[in-house]
Amino acid sequence: MSGSTIIFYLLAALTLVSGLLSVITRIIFRAAIYLLFSLIGIAGIYFWLQYEFIAAVQIVVYVGGIVVLIIFSIFLTQQAGELLPKQKLGRQLFSALAAFCGLALVMLQLVQHTFTTTSNTPIEPTVANIGAQMLGIDQNGFALPFEIVSILLLAALIGCIVIALKSKLENNL
C-alpha cells in the first residue's frame, strides 16, 4: 500500500466516523464539532483528488462559515450541558432500517454498474480555468447561473434581515 492510499483511507475513516458520531451523539455541541471534522475530512478528500480550489472553498464556506453559524445558533437556543431527549426505540429502528435499505439499494446499483470514461485530454481544475469558464458567456460558460446565484444570495441576505428584525418591529408598533 502506498502512502497516498493510506492517506485516502484515513480521510475516509475520519469523514464517515465523525459523520456517524455527529448524528448519534446526544450532546448537541459535540454533534457540531463532529460535523466540523467530517467536513474537514471531505475537504481532505478534495485535496487528495487534487481539486485544490474546491477544497479551499469547502474549508472557507463550510468549516469557517456554516459550522460557526451552527455553533452560534446552538449557543443562542440551547441550555448548556443539557442532553438531547432520547428518541423512541421504534423510531430509531425504523430510521436505521430505512437508511440501511436505501444504502443497500444504491450500493447494489453501484456494484452492478460500470462507468465508461472518456479518453479526451483532461482539463486541469486550476483557478484560471475555473474563472474563465465561470464568467464565460459562450456555449460552455456559466455566467447566467453565476448571476442567478448572486441574486439568490442577495435575496437570502435581505430575507435573513427581515426575519431577524420581525419581533423588534412588532415591539415598536
Binding site: Y9, I130, L152, L153
Partner: protein, 103 residues
Amino acid sequence: MQPGLYHILFISTVLFFIGVFGFFTRRNLVTMLMSIELILNSVNLNFITFNKYVWPNKLDGLFFTIFVIAIAAAEAAVAIAIIINLYRTHQSIDVENAEEMKF
C-alpha cells in the same frame, strides 16, 4: 489497490444515508440542519468524483459543486434565522413543539 471512483462513491453513499438517518431520528431543528449539511456534502463529493474520473475533459461537476455550496450557505443562513425566530416565540426548537401550521 489504488482507491478510485467506486471507493469515493461508496463514501458519499454512506455519508448520504448517515445524513438521512440523522434527519429521520433527530427532533431538534439545529441537528436536522446538520444532517442536511452532511447530505449536501455527500452530493458535492459525488459531483467532484464523477468530474474527476468519468468526465475529466469538462469542469461541469466542479461548477455544480460551487453552486451547491453557495446555495447551501444561503439555505443555512435563512434556516438559522428562522430557527432563532422560532426560539424567540416558542422557547424551544423542537419540531414537536412547533406545530401550529400543521393541518
